[in-house]
Amino acid sequence: MSILGNSVVRREDPALLRGEGTFIDGMEIEGALHATFVRSTIAHARISSIEVRQALELDGVVDVVTAADIDLPDLSPESPIMNAAMGRPLLARDTVRFVGEPVAVVLTEERYHGPDAAELVIVDYEPLAPVVDPLSALAADAPLLFPAAGSNVGMEIDARSMQADFSGCDVVVRKRIRNQRVAPAPIEPRVAAAWWEGEGEQSRLVLYLACQGVHPIQAKLMEVYGLPADRVRVVCPDVGGSFGAKAGTYPEWVLLGALSRRVGRPVRWTETRTENLTAMGHGRGQVQDITIGGTRDGRVTAYRLEVVQDAGAYPAIGALLPWMTRSMVTGVYDIPNAEFSARSVVTNTTPVVAYRGAGRPEAAAAIERAMDLFATEIGMDPAEVRRRNFIPADAFPYTNAAGTTYDCGAYEKALDLALEAAGYEELRAEQERRRQAGDTRALGIGLATYVEITAFGGGGEFGSCELRPDGSVLVKTGSNPYGQGHHTVWSQLVSARLGIPMEKIEVVHGDTDLIPSSSITGGSRSVQLAGTAVWDAAGRLVDLARQRAADHLEAAIEDIVFDQSLGRFYVAGTPAVDVTWAELGAAADGTGNPLVGLANFSAPGATFPFGAHVAVVEVDTETGSVELSRLIAVDDAGTILNPLLAEGQVHGGLAQGAAQALLEEVRYDADGNPLTSNFADYGVISACELPMFERIPMETPTPVNPLGAKGIGESGTIGATPAVQNAVIDAVAHLGVDHIDPPLTPERVWRALQARSTDPPSP
C-alpha cells in the first residue's frame, strides 16, 4: 500500500514544538545592529525637513539614515501594466503617502534603544489632502498621490473585451457591495537580516529573509544593487506564516543591504505588531458594482461586475488582483453573457498585496452574493437557482466568458453532498418555524458554490533527488514553505516512488546557494508543480539507478527489475541476487558521480478546485449578534496526498474566511489614520468563535498533472466568506434586509434591521 493518501503527521512539527526551529529573529548574528524605522505619522504630506541630530546623540545609536543617504533606485511598480509614474522610494523622499511609510532608519547596538532613538528623529510635515476611500480617489477633484501620473488610477481593465447585454432579461438586480480590506496578520511579522561577505568587487550580499520564495527576491536585489547572481544570496529558513503578504518586495528588505554596507556590520530587523498591521501589505479591498439579470424561472442570462480595487499608496500585487477576479468572474455558473471592468486606484493607505485567495475570493463573493440577490428577487430557493445555472459536469474542459478554461468539475454533486450533510430541508423547516413564532434567534442558512484557479501564471518548479552514500536521499525543492508542510508531503512522494522510508529522506529549500531555481510559493501551486517535480525527479533517479544496477549485477538494463516495496533492484528471474539503494549509494561514493535525479515540471494549464460551503448561523435580532453554529465544507482539490495536511489547510482557510465575514476589517479614519493597528482593535478570529467544521471529502483528479492534484491552500477562504455572509443575510431576510457589507458586526446587523423596520415595507 502506498504511503500517498495517508494522514502522515508533519515531520516539521517536533523541531518547531521543541523550539528548535530556525526563525530569523532568534538567530545569533555576531555584531549585528538593529534597524528601527521612523515611519510617517501622517497619511499624506510633504516632508519639509528631517532632523536627526538628537537621535544621533543618544547612547547606542550608530547611524541615522534618510533618503538622502541612500543611493539606490526606487522600486518600480511590480508589473509593466501599472502606471509607471507610481514607483516607490525605499525611504520617503519628499512626500509621504500613508501612515507607516518608512521615512528614516535608526541603527542601534541594542534593539531596545531603537524606538527611543526613532522618537528623537524630528520630521516636519506639511499636510496634504488625503485620499482614503477608493471611490473618492476617482473623483474629478480628488487630490493626486502622484501628480506626474495624471490620475489616481494605477491599473485599468476596460470593459471593451468583455461586455454583457441585459436587454432580454425579465429581471435585473443591481447592488454595490464591498469586499473589505483585511490584514494577513501572520504570527511571525516581517523579519530579515543582511550582511556582506568578502571585500570590494568580490563582496557578496547575503539576505536572510522570511519570505515566500528566494529567487524572486534575489532577482529584485540583483536589479536594485546592480549585482550578478553569484553576488547575491537569499536564504529563507522557517517562516511563521505569511498568507501571501511576504511575497513581493518591501523597501525594508531591500534597504538592509545598503545599511549593512554603509556601517560595515550586519543589520537585522524585526517589525513590531503595529508595524505589521500598518506597513506590511493588506488584502482584498474591492468595491464591486454587480448587475445580474435573467428569467423568472431561475436562469441567469447576464452578469456584470465593475470593480474599484483599493491599491493603497503604492501599486503592488494588490493592484493586479482584479485580473484574478476577472478570470473567475462567473464562478461555477454557465453565463457566457458576462462583463467585467476594473480600476485599481491609489489611496493614502497601506499598500494592498496578495492575501489568501488573492482576487478569487473577491470574484466568489460577488457572484455568490449576486446569485442570492437574484434568488430573492424571483422568490426561488438559492440552492435551486444555483442548480439551474451550474456548468454541467459533462461540459469540461469549459471556457468561461473571461476566456479561462476550467479543467474539470462536478459542481452539482458538491452542492448535493453539502446540502445532504447539512440537512438542508430540515434547516429550512426550522427556519420557517422560528419565523412563524417570531423567535428573536433567527436561523440563517448560507450557500456558496465556488470554483477557483490554482497553479496559474505558467512557470515551472524545480525538484531533485540525490542518493547519498548511506542510502538516504537529499531532496531539493524550489517551493519555499511557510507553514504548509512541504517536507512531509515531498518525503511521502519520494518514499512512495523509491521505497525508501521517510526518515531517510531529507528535504531542503529556500537558499539560492543550494537550489538552482524557485518561484513564489503562492496560488496554491506547490503540490501540483513542485510536488510533481519531486515526483518526477524521484522517477528519474530510479531510471539512473537502474543503469547502475545493471552494471553492478552485470546484466542488461532491460532485465533489471525495480522492487519498490523493498527498495532494491534485481535481475528478472533471480530476485535473490539484488542491489539495494544503500549499496548503490555506497558504490557511487567517491566516484564524483553521485546519482541525482533532476526535474523541472510545468503543467499544460492551471487547475480549478471547486466546492460547496454551507453556513448555519443564529442571529439575535435584538442585538444583531451572530453565532456561527455550523460550517459544512465540500472542497474538491483533486487527489489528496495527505488528508491530515489538507484538512489543516481547509480549517485555517475556513477560519479566515469566516473571520472576514464576521470580524475582520482594517479601518482608517477620515484623515487616513489607522484605527486597527494592534490585536485589541483588529479582530482576528479564535477557536471560541468557530464551530467544529464538518468536512465532506470529494476528489475529482485533474488531468493536467500526473498526481491528479489541485491546490487546497486557499479554498477555505474562497467559499466560507460568502457562505457565512449569505447565512446572516438569509437569517434576517424575512425582516426586509437584502444585503449587509462585511464584516457583519453586531452593530451593522442591528443597523440594517433598524433601517428596515423604519422604512415602509417594500412593494
Binding site: R111, Y112, G114, T623, L675, D681, S686, E747, W750
Partner: protein, 274 residues
C-alpha cells in the same frame, strides 16, 4: 511594542511598596499582573518612570470568609476567583464574571486589585464589584481606609487611590439567596465588553454597567424604578439614562444605549426580577 525606558523596583512587602510609592509619587506605577499596564507601556500610551513590582507579595493573594462578606486579597488572580468554592457559593456573580475576563493566560496573570485600580470602564470586575456593593481597602503610610466601590471610580482610568496608597483588599457582601446575572456582550470571547450588565436582586436591587461612560456606573434610574415597583421590562428601558457611552471601533453611543437596555432586561430576567 517596546516600552520607553523605566526603572524597575521590586517590593518585598506591602509596607515597602507603599514607601516606594511615597518616594516616587506620580512617576511610579504599581505592577501586579501587568495585563493592563504592560500593553499600554508597549504602545507608549503609558510611560511611567518607575515600576514597583508587587508580584512577589503572596500575602496579598487570598480569598477568606469574612462573615457577612468575602475578603479578597488585591493580588488574587482572576483564575482563583473563578475557581473559589467560597465565591461560587457566597458571591457567584463574581466568580462567574471572573471566568469571562480575557483568556486563560490573562486570567492566570491578571489580578482583581490591578483590574480595579486600573479603573477601566470596559473591564468586567470593576462593574461587578460595583454591582455587588463592594468595599475597597486601601493602605497608605498612615494605615488603611475603607472606600465603597461607589466612591472609588472617579474618572476614566482614575480612582480615589492617592499616589502613595496601595489597594490591598476587596470585600464583597455575600449575596445569599439573591438572584444575580452578568450579561457580557462582545464580539470575541477574549475581548473587552462592548457593553455588560451586572445585576443583583434584593430589597435594594443593584444594576451596574460596563463601558457606558468614563467609569463603571450604576443604572440609577433602573434601580429606582425597580424599588418603586416598576416591572423589569419597564425598568430596563431606563438603563441608559444618565450614561455617556463612548464611540470606538466596535460601537457607537446609540448602539451601546440600545445594548444596555436589552442586556439589562435580560439580566433582570435571569436574576429573577419579574
Amino acid at each position: 511594542m517596546i516600552p520607553a525606558p523605566f526603572e524597575y523596583l521590586r517590593a518585598g512587602s506591602a509596607e515597602e511598596a507603599i514607601s516606594l510609592l511615597a518616594e516616587h509619587g506620580d512617576d511610579a506605577k504599581v505592577l501586579a499582573g501587568g495585563h493592563s499596564l504592560l500593553p499600554l507601556m508597549k504602545l507608549r500610551l503609558a510611560t511611567p518612570g518607575v515600576l514597583i513590582d508587587i508580584g512577589e507579595l503572596r500575602e496579598l493573594s487570598y480569598i477568606r470568609d469574612g462573615g457577612d462578606h468575602v475578603a479578597i486579597g488585591a493580588l488574587t488572580c482572576h483564575r482563583d476567583l473563578e475557581r473559589s468554592e467560597l465565591l461560587q457559593h457566597e458571591v457567584p456573580l463574581l466568580s462567574f464574571t471572573a471566568h469571562l475576563v480575557g483568556d486563560p493566560q490573562v486570567r492566570n496573570r491578571g489580578t482583581i486589585g490591578g483590574s480595579l485600580a486600573h479603573a477601566d470602564p470596559a473591564s468586567d470586575l470593576p462593574a461587578a464589584v460595583l454591582g455587588l456593593g463592594g468595599t475597597l481597602v486601601v493602605t497608605g503610610r498612615e494605615g488603611s481606609r475603607h472606600l465603597a466601590a461607589d466612591k472609588f471610580f472617579t474618572g476614566f482610568l482614575e480612582s480615589a487611590l492617592a499616589p502613595d496608597e496601595l489597594l490591598t483588599e476587596i470585600r464583597v457582601p455575600k449575596t445569599g439567596d439573591a438572584g444575580w446575572s452578568y450579561q457580557k456582550f462582545n464580539r470575541r470571547a477574549q475581548d473587552w465588553a462592548i457593553v455588560a450588565v451586572a445585576a443583583v436582586t434584593g430589597p435594594q436591587p443593584r444594576v451596574a454597567l460596563v463601558n457606558m461612560g468614563p467609569t463603571p456606573m450604576r443604572a440609577a434610574a433602573t434601580e429606582a424604578a425597580l424599588v418603586s415597583g416598576a416591572s423589569a421590562a419597564e425598568a430596563a428601558e431606563l438603563a441608559a439614562d444618565g450614561t455617556e457611552p463612548p464611540t470606538d471601533i466596535n460601537a457607537t453611543p446609540d448602539y451601546r444605549e440600545h445594548l444596555a437596555r436589552v442586556l439589562t432586561r435580560r439580566a433582570l430576567a435571569e436574576a429573577g426580577v419579574a
